[in-house]
Amino acid sequence: MVDVTNVSKAYKEVKVVDDVSVHIKKGTITSFIGANGAGKSTLLSMVSRLIPKDEGSVLLDGEEITSYDNKELAKRLSVLKQSNNIKVRITVRELVSFGRFPYSQGKLKKEDEKLIDEAIEYMQLEDFEGRFLDELSGGQKQRAYIAMVIAQDTEYILLDEPLNNLDMKHSKQIMKALRRMVDDLGKTVVIVIHDINFASCYSDHIVALKDGKCVYEGHPEEMITNNVLREVYDMEFNVCNIDGNRICVFFT
Protein backbone atom coordinates (compact mmCIF):
# COMPACT_ATOMS: atom_id res chain seq x y z
CA MET A 1 0.00 0.00 0.00
CA VAL A 2 0.94 3.61 -0.44
CA ASP A 3 0.39 6.07 2.39
CA VAL A 4 0.48 9.68 1.35
CA THR A 5 0.48 11.94 4.40
CA ASN A 6 0.19 15.75 4.46
CA VAL A 7 2.03 16.20 1.19
CA SER A 8 2.47 19.74 -0.16
CA LYS A 9 4.21 21.31 -3.12
CA ALA A 10 4.50 24.98 -3.95
CA TYR A 11 5.98 26.78 -6.91
CA LYS A 12 6.98 30.22 -5.68
CA GLU A 13 4.04 31.19 -3.46
CA VAL A 14 1.41 29.17 -5.28
CA LYS A 15 0.54 25.95 -3.52
CA VAL A 16 -0.11 23.41 -6.24
CA VAL A 17 -0.70 20.57 -3.83
CA ASP A 18 -1.80 21.58 -0.36
CA ASP A 19 -1.64 19.18 2.57
CA VAL A 20 -3.01 16.11 0.79
CA SER A 21 -3.35 12.74 2.49
CA VAL A 22 -4.40 9.69 0.51
CA HIS A 23 -4.34 6.02 1.29
CA ILE A 24 -3.91 3.67 -1.66
CA LYS A 25 -4.83 0.06 -0.99
CA LYS A 26 -3.08 -2.88 -2.58
CA GLY A 27 -4.84 -4.58 -5.47
CA THR A 28 -7.07 -1.65 -6.42
CA ILE A 29 -7.44 0.95 -9.11
CA THR A 30 -7.35 4.43 -7.64
CA SER A 31 -8.30 7.36 -9.85
CA PHE A 32 -7.32 10.97 -9.27
CA ILE A 33 -9.94 13.28 -10.75
CA GLY A 34 -10.36 17.02 -10.81
CA ALA A 35 -10.25 20.04 -13.07
CA ASN A 36 -7.15 21.14 -14.97
CA GLY A 37 -4.61 22.57 -12.58
CA ALA A 38 -6.11 20.88 -9.55
CA GLY A 39 -2.76 19.28 -8.74
CA LYS A 40 -3.45 15.70 -9.87
CA SER A 41 -0.32 15.28 -11.96
CA THR A 42 1.86 17.01 -9.41
CA LEU A 43 0.56 14.70 -6.72
CA LEU A 44 1.23 11.67 -8.91
CA SER A 45 4.74 12.92 -9.66
CA MET A 46 5.48 13.32 -5.97
CA VAL A 47 4.09 9.90 -5.13
CA SER A 48 6.35 8.43 -7.81
CA ARG A 49 9.41 10.51 -6.67
CA LEU A 50 9.71 12.21 -10.06
CA ILE A 51 9.63 15.58 -8.33
CA PRO A 52 10.63 16.31 -4.72
CA LYS A 53 7.89 17.24 -2.27
CA ASP A 54 8.10 20.24 0.01
CA GLU A 55 6.38 18.65 2.97
CA GLY A 56 4.82 15.40 4.05
CA SER A 57 5.68 11.80 3.46
CA VAL A 58 4.95 9.08 0.93
CA LEU A 59 5.32 5.62 2.40
CA LEU A 60 5.49 2.65 0.07
CA ASP A 61 4.83 -0.47 2.12
CA GLY A 62 5.87 1.41 5.22
CA GLU A 63 9.09 2.93 3.92
CA GLU A 64 9.60 6.48 2.68
CA ILE A 65 9.78 6.40 -1.09
CA THR A 66 12.82 8.66 -1.39
CA SER A 67 14.88 6.42 0.86
CA TYR A 68 14.48 3.42 -1.43
CA ASP A 69 17.37 2.28 -3.60
CA ASN A 70 16.63 3.57 -7.11
CA LYS A 71 17.01 0.22 -8.79
CA GLU A 72 14.90 -1.65 -6.23
CA LEU A 73 12.18 0.96 -6.37
CA ALA A 74 12.05 0.66 -10.17
CA LYS A 75 11.22 -3.02 -9.72
CA ARG A 76 8.29 -2.19 -7.44
CA LEU A 77 6.84 1.02 -8.80
CA SER A 78 6.59 2.32 -12.33
CA VAL A 79 5.30 5.64 -13.55
CA LEU A 80 4.28 6.96 -16.93
CA LYS A 81 3.83 10.68 -17.47
CA GLN A 82 1.51 12.29 -19.96
CA SER A 83 4.10 14.26 -21.89
CA ASN A 84 6.19 11.68 -23.61
CA ASN A 85 8.46 13.20 -26.14
CA ILE A 86 11.22 10.72 -26.69
CA LYS A 87 13.36 12.14 -29.43
CA VAL A 88 15.59 9.19 -30.19
CA ARG A 89 14.91 6.83 -33.05
CA ILE A 90 13.60 3.71 -31.43
CA THR A 91 11.31 0.86 -32.37
CA VAL A 92 8.32 -0.24 -30.34
CA ARG A 93 10.05 -3.43 -29.28
CA GLU A 94 13.19 -1.57 -28.22
CA LEU A 95 11.07 0.83 -26.16
CA VAL A 96 9.24 -2.02 -24.46
CA SER A 97 12.61 -3.68 -23.79
CA PHE A 98 13.63 -0.66 -21.75
CA GLY A 99 10.99 -1.74 -19.26
CA ARG A 100 13.34 -4.57 -18.31
CA PHE A 101 16.24 -2.24 -17.54
CA PRO A 102 15.84 -2.33 -13.74
CA TYR A 103 16.30 -6.09 -13.89
CA SER A 104 18.70 -6.57 -16.78
CA GLN A 105 20.75 -3.35 -16.58
CA GLY A 106 20.83 -3.42 -20.36
CA LYS A 107 21.67 -7.09 -20.92
CA LEU A 108 18.45 -8.86 -21.82
CA LYS A 109 18.09 -12.47 -20.76
CA LYS A 110 15.67 -15.09 -22.07
CA GLU A 111 13.08 -14.39 -19.40
CA ASP A 112 13.29 -10.68 -20.16
CA GLU A 113 12.54 -11.40 -23.83
CA LYS A 114 9.58 -13.48 -22.76
CA LEU A 115 8.12 -10.71 -20.62
CA ILE A 116 8.68 -8.24 -23.45
CA ASP A 117 6.75 -10.53 -25.80
CA GLU A 118 3.94 -10.80 -23.29
CA ALA A 119 3.74 -7.05 -22.77
CA ILE A 120 3.57 -6.46 -26.51
CA GLU A 121 0.85 -9.04 -26.81
CA TYR A 122 -1.05 -7.55 -23.86
CA MET A 123 -1.25 -4.21 -25.65
CA GLN A 124 -1.85 -5.87 -29.05
CA LEU A 125 1.20 -4.31 -30.60
CA GLU A 126 2.53 -7.38 -32.41
CA ASP A 127 1.96 -5.81 -35.83
CA PHE A 128 3.91 -2.68 -34.93
CA GLU A 129 6.77 -4.04 -32.88
CA GLY A 130 9.37 -3.37 -35.58
CA ARG A 131 8.08 0.10 -36.42
CA PHE A 132 9.79 3.26 -35.25
CA LEU A 133 7.99 5.26 -32.61
CA ASP A 134 7.85 8.41 -34.72
CA GLU A 135 5.97 6.51 -37.42
CA LEU A 136 3.07 5.65 -35.11
CA SER A 137 -0.19 7.40 -34.36
CA GLY A 138 -0.73 8.98 -30.96
CA GLY A 139 -2.77 6.05 -29.73
CA GLN A 140 -0.29 3.44 -30.88
CA LYS A 141 2.49 5.37 -29.20
CA GLN A 142 0.53 5.56 -25.97
CA ARG A 143 -0.02 1.80 -26.05
CA ALA A 144 3.68 1.23 -26.65
CA TYR A 145 4.51 3.27 -23.55
CA ILE A 146 2.00 1.34 -21.49
CA ALA A 147 3.51 -1.90 -22.79
CA MET A 148 6.87 -0.68 -21.51
CA VAL A 149 5.39 -0.16 -18.07
CA ILE A 150 3.83 -3.62 -18.22
CA ALA A 151 7.20 -5.12 -19.13
CA GLN A 152 8.63 -3.39 -16.10
CA ASP A 153 6.38 -5.74 -14.15
CA THR A 154 6.02 -3.69 -10.98
CA GLU A 155 3.55 -4.12 -8.18
CA TYR A 156 2.55 -0.48 -8.33
CA ILE A 157 1.75 1.23 -11.62
CA LEU A 158 1.17 4.97 -11.76
CA LEU A 159 -0.19 6.41 -14.98
CA ASP A 160 -0.75 10.06 -15.79
CA GLU A 161 -3.69 10.30 -18.18
CA PRO A 162 -3.21 6.94 -19.89
CA LEU A 163 -6.22 7.59 -22.11
CA ASN A 164 -4.74 10.73 -23.57
CA ASN A 165 -4.83 10.55 -27.38
CA LEU A 166 -6.83 7.35 -27.44
CA ASP A 167 -10.12 6.68 -29.21
CA MET A 168 -13.03 4.99 -27.43
CA LYS A 169 -12.04 1.53 -28.53
CA HIS A 170 -8.49 1.76 -27.30
CA SER A 171 -9.49 3.64 -24.15
CA LYS A 172 -11.75 0.79 -23.24
CA GLN A 173 -9.08 -1.72 -24.18
CA ILE A 174 -6.58 -0.07 -21.87
CA MET A 175 -8.98 0.28 -18.97
CA LYS A 176 -9.92 -3.37 -19.34
CA ALA A 177 -6.25 -4.31 -19.43
CA LEU A 178 -5.61 -2.30 -16.25
CA ARG A 179 -8.60 -3.93 -14.59
CA ARG A 180 -7.27 -7.36 -15.59
CA MET A 181 -3.84 -6.56 -14.23
CA VAL A 182 -5.39 -5.65 -10.90
CA ASP A 183 -7.82 -8.56 -10.73
CA ASP A 184 -5.64 -11.32 -12.19
CA LEU A 185 -2.12 -10.27 -11.29
CA GLY A 186 -2.79 -8.37 -8.07
CA LYS A 187 -1.20 -5.13 -9.28
CA THR A 188 -2.01 -1.77 -7.76
CA VAL A 189 -2.86 0.94 -10.27
CA VAL A 190 -3.11 4.68 -9.73
CA ILE A 191 -4.28 6.83 -12.62
CA VAL A 192 -4.90 10.47 -13.29
CA ILE A 193 -7.97 10.55 -15.47
CA HIS A 194 -10.22 13.17 -17.02
CA ASP A 195 -13.00 10.95 -18.30
CA ILE A 196 -15.07 10.55 -15.14
CA ASN A 197 -17.23 7.87 -16.75
CA PHE A 198 -14.21 5.64 -17.17
CA ALA A 199 -13.25 6.47 -13.60
CA SER A 200 -16.74 5.57 -12.47
CA CYS A 201 -16.86 2.23 -14.29
CA TYR A 202 -13.36 0.94 -13.59
CA SER A 203 -12.07 2.38 -10.29
CA ASP A 204 -12.23 0.95 -6.83
CA HIS A 205 -11.44 4.27 -5.25
CA ILE A 206 -11.69 7.84 -6.48
CA VAL A 207 -9.79 10.82 -5.11
CA ALA A 208 -11.11 14.23 -6.11
CA LEU A 209 -8.74 17.19 -6.03
CA LYS A 210 -9.62 20.83 -6.24
CA ASP A 211 -7.17 23.75 -6.00
CA GLY A 212 -4.48 21.46 -4.64
CA LYS A 213 -6.63 20.03 -1.88
CA CYS A 214 -8.22 16.63 -1.61
CA VAL A 215 -11.90 17.55 -1.35
CA TYR A 216 -13.54 14.13 -1.51
CA GLU A 217 -12.47 10.53 -1.69
CA GLY A 218 -14.30 7.26 -1.63
CA HIS A 219 -15.87 4.45 -3.55
CA PRO A 220 -17.25 5.41 -6.99
CA GLU A 221 -20.79 4.98 -5.64
CA GLU A 222 -20.22 7.73 -3.12
CA MET A 223 -18.18 9.86 -5.47
CA ILE A 224 -20.13 9.81 -8.70
CA THR A 225 -23.11 11.80 -7.43
CA ASN A 226 -24.52 15.10 -8.55
CA ASN A 227 -23.53 16.88 -5.36
CA VAL A 228 -19.93 15.72 -5.14
CA LEU A 229 -19.18 16.31 -8.80
CA ARG A 230 -20.82 19.73 -8.77
CA GLU A 231 -18.52 20.76 -6.00
CA VAL A 232 -15.40 19.29 -7.58
CA TYR A 233 -15.92 20.69 -11.07
CA ASP A 234 -18.17 23.71 -10.43
CA MET A 235 -20.71 22.58 -13.02
CA GLU A 236 -23.97 20.67 -13.20
CA PHE A 237 -24.00 16.91 -13.67
CA ASN A 238 -26.76 14.44 -14.19
CA VAL A 239 -25.71 11.05 -12.91
CA CYS A 240 -27.74 8.18 -14.39
CA ASN A 241 -27.71 4.54 -13.66
CA ILE A 242 -27.29 2.74 -16.96
CA ASP A 243 -26.94 -1.05 -16.96
CA GLY A 244 -25.69 -0.95 -13.38
CA ASN A 245 -23.03 1.69 -14.08
CA ARG A 246 -23.11 5.23 -12.82
CA ILE A 247 -22.77 7.41 -15.91
CA CYS A 248 -22.52 11.19 -15.84
CA VAL A 249 -24.30 13.24 -18.40
CA PHE A 250 -22.89 16.73 -18.69
CA PHE A 251 -22.58 17.37 -22.40
CA THR A 252 -25.40 19.84 -22.89
Binding site: L50, L73, I86, K87, V88, R89
Partner: protein, 316 residues
Protein backbone atom coordinates in the same frame (compact mmCIF):
# COMPACT_ATOMS: atom_id res chain seq x y z
CA UNK B 1 23.23 -2.72 -43.73
CA UNK B 2 23.84 -4.11 -40.24
CA UNK B 3 25.35 -2.10 -37.42
CA UNK B 4 28.42 -4.30 -37.28
CA UNK B 5 29.07 -4.01 -40.98
CA UNK B 6 28.86 -0.23 -40.80
CA UNK B 7 31.21 -0.28 -37.84
CA UNK B 8 33.74 -2.37 -39.77
CA UNK B 9 33.61 0.07 -42.68
CA UNK B 10 34.23 3.03 -40.36
CA UNK B 11 37.03 1.16 -38.64
CA UNK B 12 38.63 0.31 -41.98
CA UNK B 13 38.37 3.92 -43.08
CA UNK B 14 40.17 5.12 -39.97
CA UNK B 15 42.86 2.47 -40.29
CA UNK B 16 43.29 3.39 -43.96
CA UNK B 17 43.61 7.05 -43.03
CA UNK B 18 46.27 6.19 -40.44
CA UNK B 19 48.24 4.25 -43.07
CA UNK B 20 47.88 7.03 -45.60
CA UNK B 21 48.99 9.61 -43.10
CA UNK B 22 51.97 7.65 -41.82
CA UNK B 23 53.34 6.24 -45.05
CA UNK B 24 52.54 8.87 -47.68
CA UNK B 25 55.62 10.41 -49.25
CA UNK B 26 58.07 9.48 -46.50
CA UNK B 27 60.98 10.28 -48.79
CA UNK B 28 63.73 8.09 -47.40
CA UNK B 29 64.18 9.78 -44.01
CA UNK B 30 62.30 7.07 -42.11
CA UNK B 31 64.07 7.60 -38.80
CA UNK B 32 63.11 11.23 -38.76
CA UNK B 33 59.68 11.19 -40.34
CA UNK B 34 58.11 8.11 -38.82
CA UNK B 35 58.31 8.95 -35.07
CA UNK B 36 57.01 12.43 -35.73
CA UNK B 37 54.10 11.18 -37.74
CA UNK B 38 53.26 8.50 -35.22
CA UNK B 39 53.28 11.14 -32.54
CA UNK B 40 50.75 13.15 -34.50
CA UNK B 41 48.63 10.07 -35.07
CA UNK B 42 48.62 9.46 -31.34
CA UNK B 43 47.62 13.06 -30.63
CA UNK B 44 44.90 12.93 -33.26
CA UNK B 45 43.53 9.61 -32.04
CA UNK B 46 43.38 10.82 -28.47
CA UNK B 47 41.80 14.18 -29.12
CA UNK B 48 39.51 12.80 -31.78
CA UNK B 49 38.23 10.09 -29.46
CA UNK B 50 37.86 12.46 -26.52
CA UNK B 51 35.96 15.07 -28.51
CA UNK B 52 33.70 12.49 -30.15
CA UNK B 53 32.83 10.68 -26.93
CA UNK B 54 32.23 13.82 -24.93
CA UNK B 55 29.96 15.33 -27.57
CA UNK B 56 27.88 12.17 -27.99
CA UNK B 57 27.39 11.96 -24.22
CA UNK B 58 26.67 15.67 -23.93
CA UNK B 59 24.02 15.46 -26.64
CA UNK B 60 22.45 12.49 -24.93
CA UNK B 61 22.25 14.27 -21.60
CA UNK B 62 20.82 17.43 -23.12
CA UNK B 63 18.59 15.48 -25.48
CA UNK B 64 19.65 17.80 -28.25
CA UNK B 65 21.75 17.13 -31.29
CA UNK B 66 22.98 20.63 -32.06
CA UNK B 67 24.80 21.22 -28.79
CA UNK B 68 28.43 20.61 -27.92
CA UNK B 69 30.29 20.88 -24.63
CA UNK B 70 32.02 23.97 -26.01
CA UNK B 71 28.75 25.78 -25.27
CA UNK B 72 29.62 25.64 -21.59
CA UNK B 73 32.57 27.85 -22.45
CA UNK B 74 35.58 25.52 -22.46
CA UNK B 75 37.04 26.93 -25.65
CA UNK B 76 36.68 30.53 -24.64
CA UNK B 77 38.09 29.83 -21.18
CA UNK B 78 41.13 28.22 -22.81
CA UNK B 79 41.66 31.23 -25.06
CA UNK B 80 41.17 33.57 -22.13
CA UNK B 81 43.79 31.71 -20.13
CA UNK B 82 46.36 31.97 -22.94
CA UNK B 83 45.55 35.63 -23.45
CA UNK B 84 45.78 36.36 -19.74
CA UNK B 85 49.22 34.74 -19.52
CA UNK B 86 50.50 36.83 -22.42
CA UNK B 87 48.86 39.97 -21.08
CA UNK B 88 50.25 39.59 -17.59
CA UNK B 89 53.64 38.03 -18.19
CA UNK B 90 54.36 38.72 -21.87
CA UNK B 91 54.46 36.49 -24.92
CA UNK B 92 57.86 35.14 -24.01
CA UNK B 93 56.50 33.51 -20.88
CA UNK B 94 53.88 31.59 -22.81
CA UNK B 95 56.34 30.40 -25.42
CA UNK B 96 59.04 29.49 -22.93
CA UNK B 97 56.74 28.05 -20.28
CA UNK B 98 57.37 24.51 -19.17
CA UNK B 99 54.97 22.55 -21.34
CA UNK B 100 53.94 20.23 -18.53
CA UNK B 101 53.13 23.12 -16.29
CA UNK B 102 51.20 24.90 -19.02
CA UNK B 103 49.27 21.77 -19.90
CA UNK B 104 48.30 20.91 -16.35
CA UNK B 105 47.44 24.53 -15.64
CA UNK B 106 45.10 24.66 -18.63
CA UNK B 107 43.49 21.29 -17.90
CA UNK B 108 43.19 22.02 -14.21
CA UNK B 109 41.60 25.39 -14.73
CA UNK B 110 39.06 24.12 -17.22
CA UNK B 111 38.08 21.14 -15.10
CA UNK B 112 37.78 23.27 -11.98
CA UNK B 113 35.71 25.80 -13.88
CA UNK B 114 33.38 23.12 -15.20
CA UNK B 115 32.98 21.44 -11.83
CA UNK B 116 32.29 24.77 -10.12
CA UNK B 117 29.69 25.53 -12.74
CA UNK B 118 28.00 22.14 -12.28
CA UNK B 119 28.18 22.41 -8.51
CA UNK B 120 26.74 25.89 -8.49
CA UNK B 121 23.86 24.91 -10.71
CA UNK B 122 23.01 21.54 -9.28
CA UNK B 123 22.96 22.87 -5.75
CA UNK B 124 19.90 24.97 -6.49
CA UNK B 125 16.50 23.47 -6.77
CA UNK B 126 14.94 23.35 -10.18
CA UNK B 127 18.46 22.38 -11.24
CA UNK B 128 18.06 21.97 -14.87
CA UNK B 129 20.38 21.19 -17.68
CA UNK B 130 19.06 24.06 -19.80
CA UNK B 131 19.80 26.51 -17.05
CA UNK B 132 23.33 25.11 -16.99
CA UNK B 133 23.64 25.70 -20.73
CA UNK B 134 22.32 29.22 -20.44
CA UNK B 135 24.82 30.13 -17.73
CA UNK B 136 27.53 28.38 -19.74
CA UNK B 137 26.78 30.39 -22.86
CA UNK B 138 26.77 33.64 -20.92
CA UNK B 139 30.07 32.82 -19.24
CA UNK B 140 31.53 31.72 -22.58
CA UNK B 141 30.61 35.05 -24.14
CA UNK B 142 31.94 36.83 -21.09
CA UNK B 143 35.30 35.05 -21.38
CA UNK B 144 35.52 35.79 -25.11
CA UNK B 145 34.82 39.45 -24.51
CA UNK B 146 37.52 39.74 -21.86
CA UNK B 147 39.94 37.90 -24.15
CA UNK B 148 39.18 40.24 -27.00
CA UNK B 149 39.60 43.24 -24.76
CA UNK B 150 42.99 42.03 -23.55
CA UNK B 151 44.03 41.14 -27.09
CA UNK B 152 43.34 44.68 -28.24
CA UNK B 153 45.57 46.04 -25.50
CA UNK B 154 48.59 43.82 -25.98
CA UNK B 155 51.46 44.40 -28.35
CA UNK B 156 50.64 43.15 -31.90
CA UNK B 157 53.71 40.91 -31.83
CA UNK B 158 52.56 39.31 -28.64
CA UNK B 159 49.09 38.95 -30.09
CA UNK B 160 50.60 36.63 -32.71
CA UNK B 161 51.62 34.29 -29.89
CA UNK B 162 48.05 34.25 -28.63
CA UNK B 163 46.63 33.84 -32.09
CA UNK B 164 48.76 30.79 -32.60
CA UNK B 165 47.03 29.23 -29.58
CA UNK B 166 43.54 30.19 -30.74
CA UNK B 167 43.45 27.64 -33.51
CA UNK B 168 43.75 23.93 -33.05
CA UNK B 169 46.94 22.47 -34.40
CA UNK B 170 48.57 19.09 -34.30
CA UNK B 171 51.85 20.44 -35.60
CA UNK B 172 53.40 20.87 -32.21
CA UNK B 173 52.07 17.86 -30.35
CA UNK B 174 54.55 16.83 -27.74
CA UNK B 175 55.30 13.26 -26.67
CA UNK B 176 55.53 13.99 -22.97
CA UNK B 177 52.24 15.86 -22.98
CA UNK B 178 50.66 13.03 -24.89
CA UNK B 179 51.66 10.71 -22.10
CA UNK B 180 50.17 12.92 -19.38
CA UNK B 181 47.05 13.58 -21.42
CA UNK B 182 46.73 9.89 -22.24
CA UNK B 183 46.83 8.94 -18.58
CA UNK B 184 44.15 11.51 -17.75
CA UNK B 185 41.93 10.35 -20.60
CA UNK B 186 42.39 6.73 -19.64
CA UNK B 187 41.42 7.43 -16.04
CA UNK B 188 38.31 9.31 -17.17
CA UNK B 189 37.43 6.47 -19.55
CA UNK B 190 37.74 3.81 -16.86
CA UNK B 191 35.45 5.89 -14.68
CA UNK B 192 33.03 6.34 -17.57
CA UNK B 193 32.70 2.59 -18.09
CA UNK B 194 30.69 2.26 -14.89
CA UNK B 195 28.05 4.62 -16.25
CA UNK B 196 27.96 3.66 -19.91
CA UNK B 197 24.99 1.36 -19.43
CA UNK B 198 22.87 4.28 -18.28
CA UNK B 199 23.42 6.32 -21.44
CA UNK B 200 20.78 4.53 -23.50
CA UNK B 201 18.22 4.99 -20.75
CA UNK B 202 19.13 8.65 -20.25
CA UNK B 203 18.53 9.28 -23.94
CA UNK B 204 14.85 8.53 -23.27
CA UNK B 205 14.65 11.59 -21.03
CA UNK B 206 14.83 12.36 -17.35
CA UNK B 207 11.46 11.03 -16.24
CA UNK B 208 11.83 7.75 -18.07
CA UNK B 209 15.33 7.31 -16.66
CA UNK B 210 14.13 7.92 -13.11
CA UNK B 211 11.25 5.53 -13.64
CA UNK B 212 13.68 2.87 -14.80
CA UNK B 213 15.73 3.18 -11.65
CA UNK B 214 18.55 5.45 -12.74
CA UNK B 215 19.78 7.85 -10.08
CA UNK B 216 19.51 10.56 -12.71
CA UNK B 217 21.07 13.57 -10.99
CA UNK B 218 24.04 11.63 -9.67
CA UNK B 219 24.74 9.89 -12.98
CA UNK B 220 24.43 13.08 -15.01
CA UNK B 221 26.78 14.91 -12.64
CA UNK B 222 29.40 12.20 -13.05
CA UNK B 223 29.00 12.11 -16.81
CA UNK B 224 29.46 15.88 -16.94
CA UNK B 225 32.61 15.47 -14.89
CA UNK B 226 33.97 12.96 -17.41
CA UNK B 227 33.05 15.32 -20.25
CA UNK B 228 34.92 18.12 -18.49
CA UNK B 229 38.11 16.04 -18.33
CA UNK B 230 37.81 14.88 -21.95
CA UNK B 231 37.22 18.33 -23.37
CA UNK B 232 39.86 19.99 -21.22
CA UNK B 233 42.56 17.49 -22.14
CA UNK B 234 41.72 17.65 -25.84
CA UNK B 235 41.64 21.44 -25.86
CA UNK B 236 44.87 21.78 -23.89
CA UNK B 237 46.60 19.33 -26.23
CA UNK B 238 45.71 20.90 -29.56
CA UNK B 239 43.61 24.00 -28.96
CA UNK B 240 39.91 24.76 -29.41
CA UNK B 241 38.45 22.08 -31.64
CA UNK B 242 35.12 21.16 -30.09
CA UNK B 243 33.17 22.06 -33.22
CA UNK B 244 34.49 18.80 -34.60
CA UNK B 245 32.35 16.98 -32.03
CA UNK B 246 29.16 18.44 -33.45
CA UNK B 247 29.98 17.04 -36.86
CA UNK B 248 31.16 13.59 -35.86
CA UNK B 249 28.36 13.00 -33.39
CA UNK B 250 25.82 13.86 -36.06
CA UNK B 251 27.55 11.73 -38.68
CA UNK B 252 27.45 8.82 -36.24
CA UNK B 253 23.73 9.41 -35.65
CA UNK B 254 23.12 9.63 -39.40
CA UNK B 255 25.08 6.46 -40.12
CA UNK B 256 23.68 4.29 -37.36
CA UNK B 257 20.25 5.83 -36.80
CA UNK B 258 19.99 4.30 -33.37
CA UNK B 259 19.93 5.31 -29.74
CA UNK B 260 22.47 2.65 -28.76
CA UNK B 261 25.66 4.11 -27.46
CA UNK B 262 27.64 0.97 -28.00
CA UNK B 263 27.39 1.85 -31.70
CA UNK B 264 27.17 5.64 -31.49
CA UNK B 265 30.30 6.23 -29.41
CA UNK B 266 32.75 3.98 -31.31
CA UNK B 267 31.19 5.16 -34.57
CA UNK B 268 31.72 8.80 -33.67
CA UNK B 269 35.29 8.04 -32.57
CA UNK B 270 36.16 6.41 -35.90
CA UNK B 271 34.58 9.22 -37.89
CA UNK B 272 36.48 11.69 -35.77
CA UNK B 273 39.86 10.01 -36.23
CA UNK B 274 39.27 9.56 -39.93
CA UNK B 275 38.29 13.16 -40.57
CA UNK B 276 41.09 14.60 -38.43
CA UNK B 277 43.75 12.49 -40.14
CA UNK B 278 42.49 13.26 -43.62
CA UNK B 279 42.22 16.93 -42.66
CA UNK B 280 45.75 16.95 -41.29
CA UNK B 281 46.99 15.14 -44.39
CA UNK B 282 45.48 17.90 -46.51
CA UNK B 283 47.09 20.53 -44.30
CA UNK B 284 50.50 18.96 -44.72
CA UNK B 285 50.54 17.73 -48.30
CA UNK B 286 48.05 19.85 -50.21
CA UNK B 287 48.15 23.16 -48.39
CA UNK B 288 51.75 22.66 -47.21
CA UNK B 289 50.99 24.07 -43.77
CA UNK B 290 49.51 27.28 -45.13
CA UNK B 291 46.34 26.67 -43.14
CA UNK B 292 45.34 24.87 -39.93
CA UNK B 293 43.19 21.86 -39.33
CA UNK B 294 40.47 23.81 -37.55
CA UNK B 295 39.89 25.88 -40.67
CA UNK B 296 39.41 22.71 -42.69
CA UNK B 297 37.28 21.04 -40.04
CA UNK B 298 35.06 24.09 -39.74
CA UNK B 299 34.78 24.46 -43.50
CA UNK B 300 33.85 20.85 -44.24
CA UNK B 301 31.78 20.60 -41.08
CA UNK B 302 29.87 23.76 -41.82
CA UNK B 303 28.99 22.53 -45.31
CA UNK B 304 27.90 19.17 -43.97
CA UNK B 305 25.84 20.83 -41.32
CA UNK B 306 23.99 23.04 -43.76
CA UNK B 307 23.40 19.97 -45.91
CA UNK B 308 21.92 18.15 -42.93
CA UNK B 309 19.63 21.05 -42.09
CA UNK B 310 18.42 21.41 -45.66
CA UNK B 311 18.00 17.71 -46.29
CA UNK B 312 16.09 16.80 -43.22
CA UNK B 313 14.37 19.61 -41.44
CA UNK B 314 12.83 17.29 -38.91
CA UNK B 315 16.03 15.60 -37.81
CA UNK B 316 16.00 17.33 -34.49
Amino acid sequence: MGYNKKMIILLSLSVASVLLFVFWDVGGEWDYVLPRRLEKVAAITMTGAAIATSTVIFQTITNNRILTPSLIGFDSLYVLLQTAIVFLFGGGTLVMMNSHFHFLLSVGLMVVFALLLFLFIFKKEGKNIYFLLLIGIILGTFFSSISEFLQVLIDPNEFLVVQDKMFASFNNANTELLLVGGVLLLAATLYLFRYVKYLDVISLGQEEAVNLGVNYDAVVKRLLGVIAVYVSVATALVGPITFLGLIVANVAHEVFRTYRHKYLIPGAIFVSIFSLLIGQWFVEHVFTFSTTISVIVNFIGGIYFIYLLVKENDVW
